[in-house]
Amino acid sequence: MPNPVLLVQSLVELADNLVDDFDVVDLLSLLSERCVGALDVTAAGVMLAVPSGALEVIASSSEAMRTLEVFQVQSDEGPCLDAYRTGKQVVNLDLAATGTRWPRFSALAAAKGFHAAHSFPLRLRRRVIGALNLLRSDPGSLQEADIAAAQALADIATIAIIQHQISIDAQTLNTQLSAALNTRIVIEQAKGKIAQATDSDMEQAFRRLRSHARNHNLRLADLASRIADGAIGPSSLDRPTPE
């Protein structure tokens, strides 16, 4: 049975990490540690898929767990990979009886003193981003309440990671948009200065700006910025070369 006090504490702690600026590795390390405390398991670990689709070990509650997780990735077999690939829970697998399903993993896990393996997909609707691995050294099945609690912890971590990724992507795009808009503004300002200083229209002013930038191997945005802030006089530019 899950320890109800520790479970609630873990849920609150995970939720408390869902602030703007959290670290995915910290969150998943916390998840692994809390699984061991709150649930009836011996070790826990989390793997996440990288953009290529391959799994990477992100967090482990113990060194033995870490070794087993790395082994799963390298040997391409084990409960974590199955949970990730199918998007379904893999629970109460008696390692003594899984010799044909995961021959190498089962042997290594048994050698490290584990009797049962459980894995939960990190899944939001159809999207699976990784898996939570739980191992038990005691024989016997994980109870329904432990299974439900493990999936709940995995779900919270999943939502946090997906939201975090969306937020980072949006932030990056917004920064690019702002920078691009600022560049455009500075170019318009420089055109205005050149137009006034050389008694020309905006089209002619822009040709002069572009021509000078090319002749002197300058980026248009950099040249415009130096004209706008007064570092380069607007009447000192080269005459435009005919096109």
Binding site: A170, Q176, L177, R184, E188, Q189, G192, K193, D229
Partner: protein
């Protein structure tokens, strides 16, 4: 059901995959039963570009805010909250000058919805009515969905832009106010002041003469008007 609401509004946008900016504003006005809608981008609390407007009045609502730096979109963007003024004729409005000029164009109610994704603030959706009246709960929920779709459309547009460039739909909206920056450059040379000061002078003149900053800017560029020579 929120999912059904999304689907319904996405259906109205059908075939445009959110990239058809004018359609986005038209749908915004339609699903909120308002007289018009506009989507503007803001940064550091100031309007930067317009994504779409449905008619001259919604364009004016954006222009006034661009000129004055105040209004429902500016507030929605800064606070991250929905701004609702269902009766511009009522006293105690937060933006005296905005309200006066908007009311002069027949606007009687305005609403500002922040356009954001998580903590990333992109701009605001403005809705107006030519008669007083609050949005119903249903219309309000629709406006929230449109604002969310607008955020995705803006980011999608930027995701498809070449490095250093502005997404195509934003580019079109930026052109509206390009004249203001050109004029600021000219005024900066005319008065021998930094561009920031020139921009302040330009806005102040537009404010004092009850005109839009883009109109005054156009006159400066066409050499019909020169700051410092006004009576």
């Amino acid at each position: 059901m929120p999912a059904e609401r999304y689907l319904r509004i996405l259906n109205l946008l059908a075939g445009t995959d959110g990239s058809n900016a004018p359609r986005l504003c038209a749908v915004a006005a339609e699903v909120t039963a308002t007289s018009g809608a506009g989507v503007m981008l803001l940064a550091d609390g100031r309007p930067q570009a317009s994504l779409c407007t449905t008619n001259d009045v919604s364009a004016l609502i954006e222009d006034i805010q661009y000129t004055l730096g105040e209004g429902p979109c500016v507030d929605a963007h800064r606070s991250g909250r929905v701004v609702s003024e269902p009766d511009l004729g009522a006293s105690e409005l937060p933006w005296v000058e905005f309200s006066r000029r908007a009311a002069g164009a027949g606007v009687q109610a305005v609403f500002g919805y922040p356009i954001r994704l998580g903590t990333v603030r992109l701009g605001a959706l403005n809705l107006y009515r030519d008669r007083p009246g609050a949005l119903s709960d249903d219309q309000h929920a629709n406006a929230l969905v449109v604002a969310d779709l607008a955020a995705r459309a803006i980011l999608d547009s930027q995701a498809n832009a070449p490095p250093g460039a502005i997404g195509i739909h934003v580019e079109e909206g930026f052109d509206l106010w390009a004249v203001v920056h050109q004029a600021a450059g000219m005024i900066s040379v005319q008065l021998d002041v930094p561009i920031a000061d020139a921009l302040v002078r330009l806005r102040a003149h537009a404010f004092a003469t009850d005109r839009l900053v883009a109109e005054v800017a156009r006159d400066v560029i066409d050499r019909r008007f020169r700051l410092g020579t006004e009576k």
